[in-house]
């Protein structure tokens, strides 16, 4: 059975033959594709132009990208348009996706974020100077490019996921708002009833704890 059918078959909402439509994204936790499955789906898109695989990726990511964009202040209509664009980028760049460098969710997150930067700001470019035309990077070699430091991306992602689940609800909320709120500091202060001046230290603390949990997770 191909990868798209396998993933869909596990989703109770779509037990029948896979269709190229968006089913209302009400899937139980068990229906979430694993990171290996996501990698396989992207590979199927890259090697065979597999539309069923693309549809599964679309149903998984596009509604979440819309949430990220709308929470960040993008009007819903533009958010949906941008999410579609992000998925078009995924289709086009599927062949250059390297699962050893990043997981699919990280990749989609950066695609959506960079499109948001382009859309809201025009000009500029990738936030850390890692764009395609980059030739100066040799002067500052990336530690991740060296074999010892290049912890398998899948392993790294699993650790981050596990660590996020172990974080206290309050710290998890701080991180969620840091990434998703339109004005994170103000919203964190309001929701957690904190003075605005202490929000940064809460974010730093949440990150310290997250790193500690990531390091403590056995591979």
């Amino acid at each position: 059975m191909d990868i798209a059918r396998r993933v869909i078959a596990r989703a109770p909402a779509a037990a029948g033959a896979p269709r190229l439509t968006v089913v209302t994204p009400q899937r139980g936790r068990g229906a979430m594709p694993t990171s290996e499955e996501l990698n396989e789906l992207v590979r199927a898109v890259a090697t065979n132009g597999d539309r069923q695989a693309f549809a599964v990726l679309f149903k998984h990511f596009a509604p979440r990208v819309v949430t990220y964009l709308v929470r960040g202040g993008t009007p819903p209509a533009s958010a949906e348009e941008l999410a579609q664009e992000a998925m078009v980028v995924l289709w086009r760049k599927a062949a250059s996706f390297d699962p050893a460098r990043a997981g699919v969710s990280t990749w989609v997150f950066t695609i959506a974020r960079n499109l948001r930067i382009d859309r809201h700001r025009r000009g500029g470019g990738a936030i850390d100077g890692r764009d395609d035309a980059d030739i100066d990077l040799d002067a500052h070699p990336d530690p991740a490019a060296s074999p010892d430091d290049r912890l398998d991306a899948r392993q790294r992602e699993q650790r981050v996921h596990a660590a996020l689940r172990q974080l206290s609800p309050e710290q998890a909320r701080v991180l969620h708002l840091s990434y998703f709120a339109e004005a994170p500091h103000a919203e964190i202060a309001r929701e957690l009833c904190l003075p605005l001046g202490t929000v940064k230290s809460r974010i730093r603390l949440a990150m310290i704890n997250l790193r500690r949990l990531i390091d403590a997770t056995e591979p």
Binding site: V22, V70, E80, W107
Partner: protein, 242 residues
Amino acid sequence: MIRHHPDDALLVALAADRLARGPAVVTAAHTERCAHCRARLRELEVVGGALLELAEPAVLAPEALARTLARIDASGTAQGERDAAAGALAATGSREAAASPAPALSRAEMRFLASLPAGMSWPRSLRGSTPTPWRWLGPGMRWSRVSLADDRAANVFLLRIAAGKSLPAHTHDGIELTQVLHGAFHDGRERFDAGDFDEADGSIHHQPVVEPGGECICLASVEGRVAFDGRIARVLGSLVGM
């Protein structure tokens, strides 16, 4: 050796695209030359990906997937031709030529870049933004306002201070971010070299001194009102428009 880095609160905001444009270009000017912070940024992108997975999915229009596939089909031919062209270029060994070109520099930008000391690298995060010509601020002190292409209101400027001179003393309401592009200064407690980053809030009344041996060029972003001390202050204040 870079010793002063942006903190996690700033890097999270950069990774999530939640920084205003001014702070974003200054922080990005640091990460683009700091391998350590690029690695941290990648880690924060993994966190972003994990949070994206956990996010509550929005309900899309029923035809969203069909529309996306139609866009893929519509662009398929053009993309195929581009790929073929890129492949031909790669085959002839000019791979760089196939990469997307950097935006062309305006004459004003080129003149400005020519005024910089030899060997100083110009941040990529400032691509497309035009600095004004250097303006006199005081003996051994010059400054340039950087007008960002996509946020004209951002308070971003460059300071160019001669060896042994002090940076203009000032306090500010908001956060001031500084990336040292060239040379070094000492703020009374610590030394900041090229590549180092500093974040100061309004409680700090600082007057860094440029180290002897060479001039220092810093890129700074200020949020909120800045109050400079003395006459220089009034000149800069009026020029920056505060």
